[in-house]
């Protein structure tokens, strides 16, 4: 036993803070690890579904991380992936049912994509790589960090796609209020098609790498 673990570690030690903040930039699940791209393409045509999707992923990932972390010593390694999947699937069904009961309109918009959280690689990745070998509290923080990392990319992509594709922000027609349709501006229909999500994510990756030299591979 090291001296560090004997005296109680503060809740937000430097190590724990890293768990939250690293996934936001240096270790971002979407732009650096390139996980969860599928849903980043699918639900980012408008801001509202992107926000609800982010909250759903946040709930599923942090709870699943804690559950798996609590069970980690009892899970037989041979069936660990199945156990992880069952936990995720159960949580996703719960989220879906709760949305249907209390946020019916949004749940209709998100429809199949809530179910597809099950297949989101970020969640399986974090359970396998982190929660299986760490205590509940750091796992919870790791879950939060990674879902925020996922969320901000989704929201930024959705912001630009909705702004240029539909001329609105969160459903409010800002472009109409600015009155620039009068001078010949038109919504870019390309922005609401999935390829533009990929291109937007690509631009974010480009900006991020040009600002952060750690991320550039040495050739």
């Amino acid at each position: 036993m090291s001296t560090e673990s004997k005296q109680k570690e503060p809740l937000f030690s430097a190590k724990n803070k890293k768990l939250i903040f690293n996934p936001l930039s240096k270790d971002n699940p979407i732009t650096v690890q390139v996980l969860g791209i599928c849903s980043a393409l699918a639900v980012t045509a408008k801001l509202e579904p992107a926000v609800v999707m982010s909250i759903s992923v946040l709930a599923v990932l942090s709870i699943a991380n804690v559950v798996i972390s609590l069970l980690r010593n009892t899970i037989p390694p041979r069936i660990r992936i199945i156990v992880q999947l069952v936990v995720i699937a159960a949580l996703v069904i719960l989220v879906d049912q709760v949305l249907k009961a209390f946020a019916y309109d949004v749940s209709k918009q998100l429809s199949v994509f809530v179910g597809l959280i099950i297949t989101n690689c970020i969640i399986m990745g974090r359970l396998e790589a982190f929660a299986m070998g760490n205590k509940p509290w750091p796992s919870f923080l790791d879950g939060l960090g990674n879902s925020f990392g996922y969320a901000w990319i989704l929201i930024v992509v959705a912001f630009f796609r909705e702004l240029f594709g539909s001329g609105s922000i969160y459903g409010y027609p800002v472009m109409e209020w600015l009155g620039i349709y009068g001078v010949g501006y038109k919504n870019n229909g390309m922005m609401i098609l999935p390829p533009m999500a990929l291109i937007t994510v690509g631009i974010i990756i480009w900006v991020q790498r040009s600002r952060n030299s750690d991320l550039i591979e040495e050739n």
Binding site: P77, R78, I79, A90, L94, V98, S111, V112, S166
Partner: protein
């Protein structure tokens, strides 16, 4: 370290626990979900006649505006009529009819698999002394079902308003059918030509302006990127509305054939 016995016990216990959690959650949330579905149905019916209500006011407003619920068979006869809270004829409330079941009956009947006659619901709305007739719609989109309500003016020809909903169309593409810009195109289009031949309303890829001029009144623009959903809406309109044609024609003849508009 972990024996096979342990693994079997572990997975069985896990599955039972998860099943228990999920089924109790489903039981607990069911009333909320069902109320949402019912309220939504009411709000969509009202929205098609341009009555916007808050969720809490839905039931009350429904009773105020929807004066009659018709249940119609394929020959155009009224099987059941529910008016102002009482049955005047028959005992089927149009509101409770499940369109999916009736469409299956119709498909089976046409395929010769059964001889159960389907029935179709229709709602009569009185607003500002004008009568409107609302027809519920159900069809297939790209990922799942699409549905809607179409309100016709009392000439049974001109569209007064329409709503659409969907289960899983792609946000930003097919899902746009659920929003006003798409739905407003239907207003004042007609589902019959001037000799009362049924034409339905077509969702046209490439835009209505590509159609010959006399057909433009029976078409609306499709959604770019949402072709399959758009086609689904076209088919849904045709397949649902055609069941009401005998009823509508008899109603129109009853009231004396109206002057065709120029």
């Amino acid at each position: 370290m972990f024996t096979n016995r342990y693994i079997f016990l572990y997975s069985s216990a896990m599955v039972i626990v998860v099943a228990a959690i999920l089924s109790s959650a489903a039981q607990f949330l069911k009333p909320f979900q069902e109320r949402n579905v019912r309220t939504e149905k009411i709000m969509e019916i009202l929205k098609s006649v341009k009555v916007e209500v808050e969720k809490s006011e839905a039931e009350k407003t429904y009773d105020q505006f929807i004066t009659a619920e018709y249940t119609i068979n394929r020959e155009g006869d009224v099987v059941s009529l529910y008016k102002n809270g009482n049955f005047e004829k028959g005992d089927i409330r149009a509101f409770d009819i499940d369109l999916k079941t009736e469409q299956k009956k119709l498909a089976d009947l046409k395929a010769g698999k059964s001889d159960v006659e389907p029935v179709f619901p229709m709602f009569e709305c009185v607003k500002d002394d004008q009568h409107y007739y609302i027809i519920p719609l159900l069809g297939k989109g790209l990922w799942g079902p699409v549905w809607g309500n179409m309100a016709l003016k009392d000439d049974f020809r001109t569209v007064y308003g329409v709503t659409f909903g969907h289960k899983g169309e792609t946000p930003g593409l097919g899902a746009e059918i659920a929003y006003a810009p798409f739905q407003q195109q239907f207003i004042d289009k007609t589902i019959f030509d001037k000799d009362y031949n049924f034409t339905s309303i077509e969702v046209v890829k490439g835009g209505v302006s590509a159609l010959p001029e006399n057909k433009q009144i029976h078409g609306v623009d499709a959604i770019s990127g949402g072709t399959i959903t758009s086609n689904g809406v076209s088919e849904m309109l045709h397949d649902c509305l055609i069941n009401y044609v005998p009823f509508m024609k008899s109603k129109v003849e009853e009231s004396g054939s109206p002057e065709p508009e120029v």
